[in-house]
C-alpha cells in the first residue's frame, strides 16, 4: 500500500527552513535499511526502512507479533539482522550502546530481584563512563521513596520506573521503550507517560513501541504503523487518521451484491453480515446516495473512523495481500 508519508513536525523556536536544513545535515538517530530477520520459518521483519531524526518522538504501533520487539532488538544490537543494515548515530548499535548514546526500557526482565532499587542504579551507573547522578534519575522516574526497597518486592509499575531510571543514567540521546506500560493500571500509565513526556520535552529522541492506540496518538509526533514485519503507514497521528479518514456505513440490505458495492467510489472494504452490510469508504456521501437510490438498502448508519479503525483497516489489508 502506498501510504508512506514522511513526517514534518516543526521544532519549537525554529523556522521550517532551518528545521529542514538541520535535519538534512544531522546524523539520523536511527537508520534502518532493508532490514530483515527470521526465526526459523517465521519472517518477523520483512524489509523495514526507517529514518528517525534527532528530536523526534516516534510511536511504533502494531499488534502483537507485528515485529516491533524484533525490530527494537535489532536497533539495540541485541540481535543481528539477516539482511539490511542498522545504524544508530552513524554507528553499529553496540558501539552506540558503549558510548551511552542509546538506552532502552525493555518490556520484562532485566532486573535482579535481590538488589535494591538504588543498588541496581549504582551498579548500572558504574558501567558507564559518564552518568547522571543516581538521586537525579530516581527523582525523574518518580521512585525516590523506594531506593532501599528490594527489586523483587517492587510492583510491576515500580519495576518499570526503575527500568526507566536505569535508561536515563547515561543521559542517552535516544531512548527506546518497548511497550513500556504493559501491565500498568490507568494511573500508573498516565504517571509514566507524564515522566517520559517531561523528559522528551528537553529534546531527547524517543522511540516507543505500543499496541495502545491512544498512547501513540497522545504522545508521539510521528506514528509508524507496523504489521507483519513491514511498515504499512508512517506519518503524524493526524496524517495517519486523515489517510483513513473515511467513514463506515452500515445498512440493512438483504442479498447485497458485495462485488458491486466494492466497485463504488472510495470503497475500501465491504462486509456482509446476514441482512446487514458494512462498507468502509472515503466517500460516504456517494455510497449512501447509491444505496438509497439504486438499492433496497434502508436503516443507514454512518459513523466516522478513529485511529482504532484506521489501525484495523490498514493492518487487515496487509493480511489480504
Amino acid at each position: 500500500m502506498g501510504l508512506v508519508t514522511p513526517a514534518h513536525g516543526t521544532v519549537v523556536g525554529m523556522t521550517q527552513t532551518q528545521t529542514l536544513q538541520a535535519r538534512t545535515t544531522a546524523v539520523p538517530a536511527i537508520e534502518l535499511r532493508g532490514l530483515t530477520k527470521s526465526f526459523g520459518s517465521v519472517r518477523a521483519v520483512r524489509g523495514i526502512d526507517l529514518t528517525v531524526r534527532p528530536g523526534e518522538i516516534i510511536a511504533f504501533l502494531g499488534p502483537n507479533g507485528a515485529g516491533k520487539t524484533t525490530t527494537i532488538d535489532l536497533m539495540l544490537g541485541l540481535s543481528r539482522p539477516d539482511g539490511g543494515s542498522v545504524q544508530v548515530y552513524g554507528m553499529e548499535p553496540s558501539a552506540a550502546v558503549r558510548h551511552g548514546l542509546i538506552s532502552a526500557v525493555m518490556q520484562t526482565g532485566g532486573l535482579l530481584k535481590d538488589l535494591t532499587v538504588a543498588e541496581t542504579l549504582r551498579l548500572t551507573a558504574s558501567l558507564f563512563s559518564d552518568t547522571r547522578p543516581v538521586s537525579e534519575v530516581l527523582a525523574r522516574a518518580g521512585i525516590s521513596d523506594i531506593g532501599d526497597r528490594r527489586v523483587g518486592k517492587c510492583s510491576g509499575g515500580q519495576q518499570q520506573r526503575l527500568r526507566f531510571a536505569m535508561a536515563l543514567l547515561p543521559d542517552p540521546e535516544l531512548l527506546v521503550l518497548d511497550e513500556p506500560t504493559t501491565g500498568m493500571d490507568v494511573t500508573g500509565r498516565r504517571d509514566f507517560w507524564a515522566a517520559i513526556r517531561e523528559d522528551a520535552a528537553q529534546g531527547r529522541t524517543v522511540l516507543f513501541a505500543t499496541h495502545y492506540l491512544e498512547e501513540a496518538d497522545a504522545y508521539a509526533d510521528r506514528i509508524v504503523l507496523i504489521s507483519h514485519g513491514q511498515v504499512v503507514a508512517d506519518g503524524t497521528a493526524a496524517q495517519v487518521k486523515a489517510l483513513v479518514s473515511g467513514r463506515t456505513i452500515r445498512a440493512t440490505l438483504p442479498d447485497a451484491d458485495a462485488t458491486a458495492l466494492q466497485g463504488l467510489p472510495g470503497v475500501e472494504t465491504v462486509e456482509v453480515r446476514g441482512d446487514s452490510v458494512l462498507i468502509a469508504t472515503t466517500d460516504s456521501d456517494a455510497v449512501a446516495r447509491h444505496l438509497l437510490s439504486a438499492t433496497a438498502a434502508h436503516d443507514l448508519e454512518i459513523t466516522s473512523r478513529g485511529l482504532e479503525d484506521a489501525f484495523i483497516s490498514l493492518t487487515s489489508e496487509e493480511d489480504q495481500s
Partner: protein, 262 residues
C-alpha cells in the same frame, strides 16, 4: 542536549570494558545476601570441621607436620572453597534466567569483563570460606608448622579456581533459577571422591582408581601434601590442570555460544 546538530555527540567509552570496583562490591554483597549460599558455603564447612575435626580421639594424632585436626581443617576449607566458587560462578545461571545478562548488553560492560567479575567474586567468596575454616582451626585443636597454614590455605584457595570455572560452565549449561540445588549433591559426591570426608586409602581399590579421575582428587592431594610431607604425584597436578582446562574450556564454549546467539 543537542537535538539537531550535524555531528554525533561526543561520548566516552569506559576503560577495562566497564570493569570497576563498585560492580565488584555490589556483586559480592549480593552473593553474601543469599542466605542459602552463606549457610552452605561458609557456615556448614566450619560446622563439619568442628564436628569431625575436633574433640575426637584422633584429632591430636600426628599427620606429618601437624595433627589430624589440621588435616580435616584443610579438607573442610577445600569443601567450602569448592561450594563457594561454584555458587559464585553459577550466578551466571540466575542472571541469565532473570534477563540480567541481556540487560547488561545495553551497557558498555563487555562479556569478558562480566565473566572476569563472576570469577573474581567467586574467588573472593572461596577465599572467605577458607579463612573462616582456618580461623575456626586456630581457635581449636588444629596444629601444624607455622608456614604450612599459609601454604595450604593458598593452595586450597588458588586451586578452587577449577570450581569457579565449573560454576560458570554449569551456570551456562543449566538455565535454572536455583542451580545450586541441582549441583549441591553432585559437589558432595565430588568432595567424597576427593577424599575430603574419608581418607581414600580406607576405601577399596576400585573406588580409589575411580576417585583419582574426579575433579577434587588432585586439588585435595596438592593441598594436603605440605602437611603430610608426602610429595604429591604427577597424577594430582595433571588432574587439576586437566579439569581446569575442561571446565574453563566448557565455560568459554557456552559463553561464546551465548554471546553469538544474537
Amino acid at each position: 542536549m543537542t537535538t539537531a546538530n550535524a555531528t554525533v555527540p561526543e561520548r566516552a567509552v569506559p576503560p577495562l570494558g566497564g570493569f570497576n570496583t563498585t560492580l565488584l562490591r555490589i556483586e559480592l554483597r549480593r552473593l553474601l545476601r543469599n542466605r542459602r549460599t552463606v549457610i552452605f558455603s561458609i557456615v556448614l564447612p566450619v560446622v563439619f570441621f568442628l564436628l569431625f575435626g575436633t574433640g575426637k580421639d584422633y584429632s591430636l594424632k600426628n599427620a606429618g607436620h601437624g595433627n589430624v585436626a589440621s588435616y580435616v581443617m584443610i579438607s573442610m576449607a577445600l569443601y567450602g572453597a569448592m561450594l563457594s566458587t561454584t555458587a559464585g560462578g553459577a550466578m551466571v545461571s540466575t542472571e541469565r534466567s532473570q534477563g540480567w545478562s541481556r540487560q547488561l548488553r545495553l551497557t558498555p560492560l563487555t562479556p569478558t569483563a562480566y565473566i572476569a567479575v563472576k570469577v573474581l567474586v567467586a574467588m573472593l567468596l572461596g577465599g572467605l570460606s577458607v579463612v573462616v575454616v582456618y580461623l575456626a582451626g586456630t581457635f581449636t585443636q588444629a596444629q601444624m608448622d607455622h608456614h604450612l597454614w599459609w601454604e595450604t590455605a593458598l593452595i586450597a584457595w588458588v586451586g578452587s579456581l577449577v570450581f569457579a570455572a565449573f560454576g560458570v560452565f554449569m551456570g551456562y549449561l543449566l538455565p535454572s533459577d536455583n542451580v545450586m540445588q541441582i549441583l549441591g549433591p553432585g559437589l558432595a559426591l565430588l568432595a567424597f571422591l576427593g577424599g575430603l570426608f574419608t581418607p581414600l586409602d580406607q576405601m577399596g581399590q576400585t573406588f580409589q582408581t575411580i576417585a583419582k579421575l574426579t575433579p577434587m582428587y588432585g586439588l585435595s592431594e596438592l593441598a594436603h601434601a605440605p602437611l603430610t610431607g608426602d610429595a604429591p604425584g604427577w597424577a594430582a597436578v595433571v588432574n587439576v590442570l586437566a579439569w581446569l582446562a575442561v571446565f574453563a574450556g566448557g565455560a568459554a564454549w557456552r559463553f561464546r555460544r551465548d554471546t553469538a546467539r544474537v
